[in-house]
Amino acid sequence: MGTRNYKRKTSHSENGPGDGGRTGSWRVERPILDKSLCIPCKRNKEACFICWLFCPEIVISRTIPPKIDLEYCKGCGICAEECPTKAIIMVDEAEFSKEDKE
């Protein structure tokens, strides 16, 4: 067979988001940011960003205010636990209406 057709025989993935599907559907609790407690929002300049550093899923942006991408957020709650001012709280997904989920 030789190696002439080798190129066609390798499996090679392209990078892209959502390898595990829309992982937001795994979520049981949703993180909600309270802007009045969030340090970068209060000071209106770059500060803190602990939630951005510790988010395993990279769904929290390093912006003011930090935005949470609910399409991929798995709802682990590390951001809520690590936030020094408790600006992020975890709310049960059942409290959001069906339309809101979509």
Binding site: S11, S13, E14, N15, G16, P17, G18, D19, G20, G21, R22, T23, W26, E46, A47, C48, F49, I50, W52, L53, F54, C55, P56, E57, I58, V59, R62, D69, E71, Y72, K74, G75, C76, G77, I78, A80, E81, E82, M90
Partner: protein
């Protein structure tokens, strides 16, 4: 001495996409993401079967933006050697080769290839992430599972043997750089990788990774559990640069403070240690105290 990285000075470019297959609250995802930031764009990764393969995804989508070679369990370091040889023959010198393997793939199955590569002094970074078990196949015991931990094949009494000290094994190869890190201290990990990039020979990293399903705690406490392991003195953060041992980051501060959190708190935060009796915990506490007494003495 380089300045310590802060959250605000950490590069914002990401090399991992969101929506991976990793479990909710995975500690590895944090360490992997920050580690790749430190390794930078010119990096080729070598990954054996492990939780990281799960995180990287199935064909045809990959969650990592860097080129990555998936190899067999035992050949991680050998494959990294092969990539280095190819890069050398092509005259490419600015590309970093990094092998990321799990604790099973390092301490049990891949150890001989790693030991061989380290002895030959191949110029790559080997990062072992230690979640203390074969987690992606359903929590089986590995060489680095600590004593007393319940796993799928030590279900009643917990593991009876001691944890294998892989960084010490690698330090015995007289490497230019050996370091231990924790996912709970990602900036420390970042600094250490940046520091060792230009050093010659094999560089070895041992990264402690909290694992919510394997260790049995609520995912939201992941960072807290990882931090407890360091604050109780159970897992120390250090670096060995050309044979010179030095505690770093949080562990260095513990020596200054001369005060450890009781290790009981770390054990009771996880369900895998639920069968540990008070006597066993007291025994482990004595071992930790003896280890730290030696550190205190060195500091004086």
């Amino acid at each position: 001495m380089q300045a310590k990285t802060t959250i605000l000075s950490l590069p914002t470019e990401e090399f991992v996409h969101p929506g991976t297959r990793a479990c909710t609250g995975c500690g590895l995802a944090i360490a992997y993401r920050v580690g790749l930031k430190a390794l930078g764009k010119n990096t080729i990764l070598v990954v054996p079967p492990s939780c990281l393969t799960v995180l990287q995804g199935l064909f045809p989508v990959a969650s990592t933006k860097l080129p990555c070679l998936n190899v067999t369990f035992a050949s991680t370091a050998a494959a990294a050697t092969g990539i280095l040889a190819t890069l050398k023959s092509q005259g490419k010198t600015n590309i970093q080769v990094a092998a990321w393997a799990g604790d099973g793939g390092t301490s049990d199955i891949g150890l001989q290839a790693l030991s061989g590569a380290a002895e030959r002094g191949e110029n790559f970074i080997y990062l072992c992430y230690d979640n203390e078990g074969y987690m992606n196949t359903g929590v089986q015991r590995s060489g680095t599972t600590p004593i007393g931990a319940i796993t799928a094949n030590t279900p009643f009494k917990g593991k009876l043997q001691q944890k294998k000290d892989v960084p010490a094994i690698m330090a015995a190869h007289h490497l230019s750089y050996v370091a231990t890190c924790s996912a709970a201290y990602p900036l420390d990990l970042y600094d250490k990788i940046v520091k060792c990039k230009d050093m010659p020979g094999t560089k070895y990293f041992h990264i402690h990774i909290p694992c919510p399903p394997g260790w049995g705690y609520d995912p939201r406490y992941g960072i807290k559990v990882g931090r407890l392991a360091v604050e109780t003195g159970y897992y120390d953060l250090y670096e060995i640069v050309n044979g010179e041992f030095k505690l770093t980051a949080a562990s260095e501060k513990l020596v200054e403070k001369r005060k450890l959190v009781p290790v009981r708190e770390y054990f009771r935060a996880q369900s895998r240690f639920k069968i540990l009796t008070d006597e066993q915990i007291a025994d482990i506490q004595n071992q930790i105290d003896a280890k730290w007494a030696a550190y205190y003495k060195k500091d004086e």
